[in-house]
């Protein structure tokens, strides 16, 4: 019964999305004024119905209703409840339902609360939103119905990919989805603005919180995903330039550029065309990413249910939305004026420069990700990895960081470097100091080996420079948005420092150790005390009992495992981490060698945790900005309401 309610709600929501699209589009032509009033309520009810469908799916998974095919395929009665619920979106159908649900709710929210834009632009935006949703509803209902019944019901479920049975990962896909959906709202605003030729500050202000929110979730999603790959795959790396990782990085790069250009548009009425284009590109990148991941067109280390047919469906949606949006852009952009002008040396100039750099990095990542496809056209197989991405990306990343130090100190419209030169002395001194330190302790290892050291120097400079906008300010009166910017930029410096130091100074050791033997790795001494079998709820593991001590200090236990799951049968490594303020000891247990020795892989990774700590700071900076913006919007809304009331009472 629950499954049928869910399916019915889904169909109804799809029908309402169609109505929202038709009513919104017709009222744009001015021929059906009577329909105008229906668009907003329809959007709200559509969101509620999608939520009902998703709630039904959660209920089915929580009860492990094995008469539903999706549950039987992806869950298991022996699984802990939290993972049963997470299994609802840990698969293709469920994740698509989550997507339309979040999208429906976002549409409902816009319909209920967004009143700043001209009504026509709003209707065009909501019609655009319905248009995008409709494709996903069609996808769900035609080719991936999550509520399909199984007759007869299965005896037991098929389990969940054990790699995914991890609390961090249960929330990783939804986080990214929230980001993608936020970008879809930004996309709809861009379409609405283009259709009605209303590309201006009001449009930017309406779009900004969605971009900011999406960007926060994308930042968190990438940070969490990177940490997951780091400790769950057991390879000791935190970024592999894998297609799936790139798929999440590309929308983030586009959203970062969009975030900055939408701010310029909102406060300075400049960069109109650029902002609209980035709005289209950012959502395109999330669609392209989803397509690349789901279609299996590229091979990846991440286990994903790959299905070429579904890939084709996403590709068709991609062609309609992105092809359509870019055609509209081509038709309309030439008629939109650029907006206010500014000098090269100005805050706008710095933002534009960095936007171009971000876009260039985006192009590099996209090209590198697709390159294996390009060469396949010529019948050669290649894989593109760090030797391409790191140095080529650095060509644009290094100037970007340099400008990032200066940009926030510049004035809007027109400024000179001479004015801020005095302030910049501090970061420059620090960078020169870092150069001296780095040259003192490092041997030359070629261009590739030099990059981490460049990173350390840049991180040192940026850390100080990012704090400079706070100088000579009353910290209590500094707006939340400024704090947000400072924190996010400081987070970039912190993450960069972690990446660079880890790359330059990590120590790796692979040993075959006998029980009782002690190995050293960097400043650590690690003793293998024993190997024990450990039973788990749906796995058994072999656990190494290690005792680690840092520079001869107090000892702590470290227990890496090699787990065997039995539904479905699969082996995973559970790395063990020992965290200090200045880095992590990373231990993985491998196979048993023939003579009773065990393979142990040990890493000392100095300051590696700063990578994710920096990522969280970046996201928190975004959150502060978002709170600042929304609070200001609400204050302004209340004030406007009061003025309107006063006018009304005077009129009576």
């Amino acid at each position: 019964m629950i499954a049928e309610i869910g399916l019915a709600a889904l169909w109804l929501a799809a029908a309402l999305a169609a109505l929202q699209l038709i009513a919104g589009s017709l009222s744009l032509t001015g021929k059906a004024e009577s329909l105008t009033g229906t668009v907003r309520p329809v959007a709200i009810v559509q969101g509620a119905l999608a939520l009902l469908a998703f709630a039904a799916l959660i209920a089915l998974f929580a009860r492990t209703d094995l008469s539903v095919k999706l549950v039987a395929m992806n869950s298991h009665s022996a699984k802990p409840l939290i993972f049963k619920i997470a299994a609802a979106w840990g698969n293709h159908e469920g994740s698509m339902l989550l997507w339309v649900t979040v999208m429906g709710l976002a549409g409902a929210f816009v319909a209920q609360f967004e009143r700043r834009l001209p009504e026509k632009t709003m209707l065009a935006t909501l019609a655009g939103q319905a248009f995008v949703s409709l494709g996903f509803y069609a996808f769900l209902l035609i080719s991936s119905n999550p509520f399909e019944r199984l007759n007869p019901p299965a005896g037991e479920g098929n389990g969940l990919n054990p790699l995914l049975q991890d609390i961090g990962l249960a929330f990783h896909p939804p986080t990214l989805y929230l980001g993608y959906v936020g970008l879809s709202v930004a996309f709809s605003f861009a379409i609405g603005a283009l259709l009605t030729r209303q590309v201006g500050p009001a449009f930017a202000k309406a779009m900004r919180p969605w971009v900011l929110g999406a960007w926060i979730f994308l930042t968190l999603g990438i940070t969490a995903g990177s940490y997951w790959a780091y400790y769950e795959l057991g390879w000791g790396g935190w970024w592999f330039w894998d297609p799936v990782e790139n798929a999440s990085l590309m929308p983030w790069l586009a959203a970062t550029a969009l975030l900055h250009s939408v701010s310029v548009l909102a406060s300075r009425d400049a960069l109109r065309i650029w902002t609209v284009m980035l709005g289209v590109v950012a959502f395109s990148m999330s669609m392209v990413g989803t397509f690349l991941v789901r279609s299996g067109i590229l091979t990846s280390v991440h286990a994903f249910a790959v299905d070429p047919e579904r890939g084709s469906f996403i590709l068709v949606l991609l062609a309609i939305y992105i092809g359509g949006a870019l055609t509209l852009f081509g038709l309309r952009a030439a008629t939109v004026s650029e907006g206010k002008q500014f000098a090269l040396v100005s805050r706008e100039g710095a933002l534009v420069f960095n936007n171009v750099m971000l876009t260039a990095i985006l192009g590099i990542v996209l090209f590198g990700t697709l390159y294996p496809l390009v060469t396949e056209v010529f019948d050669t197989k290649v894989s593109v990895g760090p030797p391409y991405f790191n140095p080529v990306g650095a060509v644009f990343f290094v100037p970007m960081v340099l400008i990032l130090m200066v940009g926030p100190l510049l004035r809007w419209r027109k400024d000179s470097f001479a004015r801020i030169a005095k302030v910049l002395i501090l970061p420059v001194i620090l960078m020169l100091g870092a150069v001296a330190v780095v040259l003192g302790i490092a041997e030359y290892r070629g261009i590739d080996g030099a990059l981490p050291f460049v990173g350390i120097v840049l991180a040192a400079g940026l850390a100080i420079a990012s704090l400079l906008p706070l100088r000579e300010r009353n910290l209590l009166r500094t707006p939340l948005t400024t704090w947000g910017m400072v924190l996010a930029h400081l987070g970039v410096a912190v993450a960069l420092f972690g990446m660079a130091v880890e790359s330059a100074y990590k120590v790796e050791k692979l040993v075959a150790a006998r029980v009782g033997e002690t190995t050293s790795v960097g400043p650590w001494k690690v003793e293998l005390r024993g190997i024990e079998p450990v039973p788990g709820p749906n796995w058994t593991a072999i656990e190494a009992d290690l005792l680690a001590s840092y520079k001869g200090g107090a000892t702590s236990a470290v227990k890496p495992q090699s787990r065997s799951f039995w539904t479905p049968p699969q082996m995973t490594t559970e790395s063990a981490l020992l965290t200090r303020w200045n880095g992590q000891l990373y231990a993985v247990i491998g196979d048993e060698a023939q003579d009773g020795r065990w393979q142990l892989r040990l890493w000392w990774k100095p300051f590696v945790t700063l990578i994710w700590f920096g990522g969280i700071m970046i996201a928190l900076g975004g959150l502060l900005s978002l709170i600042g913006r929304v609070a200001a919007d609400i204050r302004r809304g209340v004030a406007r309401g009061r003025i309107a009331d006063r006018h009304e009472s005077r009129a009576q």
Partner: protein, 186 residues
Amino acid sequence: MSTQGEGRQKISPMAVWLPLFLFGVFFALVIYGLASPASRDVESAMIGKPLPEFALRPAIADRPGLSSSDLSIGEPRLLNIFASWCIPCAIEAPQLETLNAQGIEVVGIAIRDRPDDVAAFLARNGNPFSRIGADDVSAVQLGIGSSGVPETFVIDGNGIILYQHIGVIRREDLPLIMDKLAEAAR
């Protein structure tokens, strides 16, 4: 930077179509990629080449060891790379039994293993092998282009590697293996 200048500039009419053009290129590329789904497994560079020379000592007491000369005596052979410590190897054991029951001679190479462990593994999962060589340092394994366990090779009567199967042989892989063996017999 196009933003510097006098008055309200408009963007060049060519530039606004550039994103659509790039998207078109992307679209054409993935359509091509989807239309010609190439196999993405990394194949051994040794396919079509003769086995390297090797002679391995017996891995267990009751089966002879394996040398390259045992694999070029006019009959095709199925060469299975396994190890007692490899859990997926136990999963593919019934398929090897099936192949053996159909009259196919299966030979094995045990990787980094101890005689007692191999014997226990075979006692538990069945022993389809006529010969088992012990490769203690993975030298032969790497020499024939295998990087993991389990892997299975079809060798023709002249000691030429005809086919490499990476990973577990599942039930549905059996027809393919049989085809390759028939091809090797020709």
